[in-house]
């Protein structure tokens, strides 16, 4: 390779980007076929929703904030950021502790799949919608998600893991989300994503000896993208007060509980990963919940009472029930079946226990927009 082509992350127009990519692919496709790689089939979800309802959104009540946000996303401050530079230190994959390597690769693959699924969903909304405000937003978000997915993919390639996009030729089922559930869930996933990445980023800033992979250095800009996506969903919800009042408050509580609980359970499945980062998963969960709660006050009229002693106790029970369930699923026989049923019942009870902890109510500010401050 004698001439390093300009990186297409720096391209300002589509044409320029395509030209650079074409040039680059001559090198890359060769490199890709040279190395035998472990193949990982991405399995994103496919969604459909009520596109008419989505089209009916009218952002005129938040027009000023909306235009500002879209302009900012359009100006693409992170263009060119997601590529390796001299800060990308060498990663000694061969000597990485096997358990850590396994958990870290699992972390990268699940992050990549989530970004990828977000991209598929946003692109679908862009394509089937006809409201120009909405389609523009989803186009911009799809751009960011595909860019993040590409960046993680690059880190995976370095680890000898090739992502396989061949899933399209497999039969895939389209599930359905009501638009409001997409708002709650994507809003929360973007905001909690921000809180998760920034917490790790700040922790590693203070404790650089724990930064076992350079990708963490990119977390700040990465999570700022997540932050703006969350802002967009907050504004979308602001356009219709019904979305955050009445019976929907119960839905919001359900989503908050489910997202927090899922995160807690999942993170506790990666002990080596958290140990390498020098992070106690219980501390981390509490920190992320605290930040996410502060952020979601911008639009949700309630936050979960994460300081209530029943909260932590419930999470521990849920985590234990889940681990038992997984073990029981691996065994066969009547005994294993009974253990499965018992674990499922305990998990459901623990979740209900978390859900029914009284929430904290507060006033939602008149103006929704926030800037990343952590």
């Amino acid at each position: 390779m004698n001439m390093q082509p300009k990186h297409s992350a720096d391209a300002t127009t589509v044409e320029e980007g395509l030209a650079i990519q074409e040039e680059q692919s001559k090198f890359d496709s060769k490199a890709a076929t040279d190395v035998a790689m472990q193949n990982t089939l991405l399995t994103p979800r496919f969604y459909t929703t009520d596109f008419d309802e989505l089209d009916a959104i009218d952002v005129s009540s938040v027009r000023e904030d909306w235009d500002k946000l879209i302009d900012q996303m359009e100006s693409d401050p992170n263009k060119g950021h997601f590529k390796k530079n001299e800060d990308w230190d060498h990663v000694d994959w061969d000597n990485m502790e096997p358990k850590l390597k396994k958990e870290f690769i699992d972390f990268l693959i699940s992050s990549c799949t989530a970004e990828f699924s977000g991209c598929v969903l946003y692109k679908e909304m862009k394509r089937r919608g006809s409201n120009s405000d909405i389609t523009q937003l989803f186009q911009l978000m799809a751009r960011d998600e595909a860019r993040h997915a590409g960046f993680i993919n690059d880190a995976l390639r370095e680890a000898g893991v090739a992502v396989n996009l061949g899933f399209l030729t497999q039969k895939k089922k389209y599930t359905y989300f009501r638009p409001k559930f997409i708002y709650y869930a994507t809003y929360l996933s973007e905001k909690i994503g921000y809180a998760r990445y920034i917490t790790i980023f700040r922790h590693l800033e203070a404790n650089p000896q724990h930064r076992f992979h350079p990708i963490f250095k990119w977390f700040e800009e990465w999570c700022n993208d997540e932050f703006s996506h969350g802002e967009a969903f907050a504004l979308l919800m602001k356009t219709d007060p019904k979305l955050t009042s009445g019976v929907n408050v119960w839905w919001i509580k359900f989503f908050l509980t489910a997202v927090y609980a899922t995160m807690y359970v999942r993170d506790h499945q990666r002990p080596a990963f958290h140990e390498a980062l020098g992070v106690d998963p219980d501390w981390y969960a509490h920190e992320v919940f605290t930040k996410t709660s502060a952020l979601t006050k911008q639009i949700f009229p309630i936050t979960l009472d994460i300081e209530n002693p029943r909260w932590q106790a419930g999470l521990v029970k849920l985590q234990k029930a889940n681990a038992d369930l997984a073990r029981a699923k691996q065994d066969s026989g009547l005994g294993a079946m009974l253990r499965q049923v018992s674990a499922q019942a305990r998990a459901a009870t623990a979740f209900a226990g978390l859900f029914f902890i009284p929430a904290k109510r507060h006033q939602v500010p008149a103006s929704t927009r926030m800037e990343p401050a952590y």
């Binding site: 680059q24 890359d28 496709s29 989530a114 061949g166 389209y174 994507t186 998760r196």
Partner: protein, 98 residues
């Protein structure tokens, strides 16, 4: 669409797969305006489409749409929402204990 019967449709489609550093994405576009409803299944015909790293591959293919029965569509509408949690980065791990 019947309550219990599945119908099968064919639709020409364009598949675009980008396996580039700056964008990892894959999309299917139906070229006859076919619309996917909850519970439908889609299979793109032909061999797996692989884009080498650094390339975008775009191919015209035929897709089979397995239309969900009315009952299945209703069921997916009622229950699909709970899968929404999978948009979170931490939800995609298949293994419970690593």
């Amino acid at each position: 669409m019947g309550w219990l019967t599945k119908e099968i449709e064919h639709a020409p489609c364009t598949v675009e797969i980008s396996h580039k550093f700056e964008s990892l994405h894959a999309h299917v576009r139906f070229n006859n305006g076919a619309v996917i409803y909850p519970g439908d299944e889609v299979k793109v015909q032909g061999p797996e489409i692989m884009a080498p790293f650094g390339e975008i591959v775009s191919e015209d293919r035929d897709a089979i749409i397995f239309r969900a029965s009315k009952l299945e569509q209703l069921w997916t509408r009622l229950t699909g929402d709970f899968e929404v949690m999978e948009l979170c980065e931490f939800s995609f791990s298949e293994e419970v204990t690593l």
